[in-house]
Symmetry: C2
Subunit: 270 residues, 2 copies
């Protein structure tokens, strides 16, 4: 049997939330209050609340209390690189959708560095047998952090083979007009196709701190490698808190007069 006291607490809260007893953003009863209400110790009430936190249903803040979690993920259009628009890997209409969702103050911080390929990068950027040029093992690393309302929103790290990015605008630590895709095109490279690997995992302590995440919020990870023919042009990894981001892929031949995407769709609906 698993009807322990902490699960009683958890069920009590889950029920209350399902009934809509508290509105999104509203404060829930505290540990002490809950403990007295259900006749358990504070430690047990705490464990029960932790379950709800792990499920991502509530957000607990030190000194303030527990609040009903409010998941309103922004939907990213994950268009293929070959698309007409000047979209980066996730950029199309990005800030406009953010603003639409009630956010403002979108900022970007870019750092550029040069380093030797780590194995996992080489696995994605090196094509077949090792190329034997002197700089074959070098990559230009372009790390950008997107800040929204002053908080870290998503991070993106793009790796370019040295032979592609050396002495180009890709090495300037500033926002690129037209994005990475547009800059590559201007340099004469054609991103013809791409492969995206999408998964999720829990954030490390560092990542959780950087994004300001409590336990119970996974990280959505998108890896994109774009190619010209067989040649990899770049490898981009994007890290997004899963409670604020979801990806939209379109496959097959969509009709011309495609209805506007209902950005209200969310995997968090019940």
């Amino acid at each position: 049997m698993s009807t322990t006291k902490k699960t009683v607490v958890a069920d009590y809260l889950r029920d209350a939330l399902a009934r809509g007893a508290y509105r999104p953003g509203e404060r829930l009863p505290g540990e002490e209050e809950l403990a007295e209400e259900l006749d358990v110790s504070r430690a047990t009430a705490r464990l029960g609340m932790r379950i709800l936190q792990d499920e991502g249903r509530i957000a607990i803040q030190v000194g303030r209390g527990a609040f009903v979690a409010n998941h309103r993920p922004i939907t990213h259009l994950a268009e293929p690189v070959a698309a007409d628009g000047d979209s980066g890997s996730l950029e199309s209409g990005y800030s406009s959708r953010l603003r639409q969702a009630g956010h403002g103050d979108v900022d970007e911080r870019v750092r550029v560095s040069l380093d030797t390929m780590r194995p996992r990068v080489a696995k994605r950027l090196v094509n077949g047998p090792e190329q034997q040029s002197p700089n074959a093992g070098l990559v230009v690393i372009r790390a950008s952090e997107h800040l929204v309302d002053g908080g870290l929103w998503q991070t993106q790290i793009t790796y370019f083979p040295f032979s592609i990015a050396n002495n180009t605008a890709l090495m300037t630590p500033e926002h690129l007009a037209g994005g990475i895709a547009g800059t590559l095109r201007a340099l004469g490279f054609h991103e013809e196709w791409n492969r995206d690997l999408v998964g999720a995992r829990m954030p490390s302590q560092e990542e959780a701190d950087a994004f300001g995440l409590g336990p119970g919020t996974p990280l959505l990870v998108q890896e994109r490698v774009s190619y010209e023919g067989q040649r990899p042009l770049r490898f981009t990894e994007t890290f997004m808190p899963a409670n604020r981001h979801q990806l939209l892929y379109t496959g097959g031949d969509a009709p011309e007069n495609l209805p506007v995407v209902d950005t209200d769709l969310s995997i968090f609906e019940h």
Copy 2:
């Protein structure tokens, strides 16, 4: 400062893992042992281990101990519905890749039911203004559970408009030869294009129990709606433990002689 004792424990373990002091699958020191080693109470050692568990780095089993987590996600080729193959939404080469990864004994359990649309299903299957046929609000629900080595591996729920699935093979609770895609084609429907929504969230208690997940393992969620022109044919939601699944999308015009996908790629590499 956040160098609490429990984070000392967590850092100690994280370092040991990063150094490779323990091999994947190997047992770590227990709570008691760790507590004595680092001169903390068992409660504190426990909290420290919990952090590593939340990060998905270790898996703790009652009565046995803590073990180095072994994330070897299966990569699903998320092909568009229009692809030639007889793939379902995630099915192409599925069981062969599973077998390749050292698993066997793949099984499927199907349940079929008929119900009125809940709002979130209607949002995806109803196109524009409400259709006024008597059975407009009905959906055929086809829920399938994939079992691997006796354990629940992924679950899939597909919703068909009643007008499409009524009195067809789609209502039989058996494995469909050719998958859902093939069956729809045989019925004269053409899945021309699709939209996939991909996100992640923490599992509910029920889901965690069903999948056998401890805390620290998110759920990867894929929602796919396929269309013939403007008409939605089906809505499929797939739930996968994120430590065992990742999705691969290909965009743009890939060359003919596409090199075999390196199924070794994983977002969990460091």
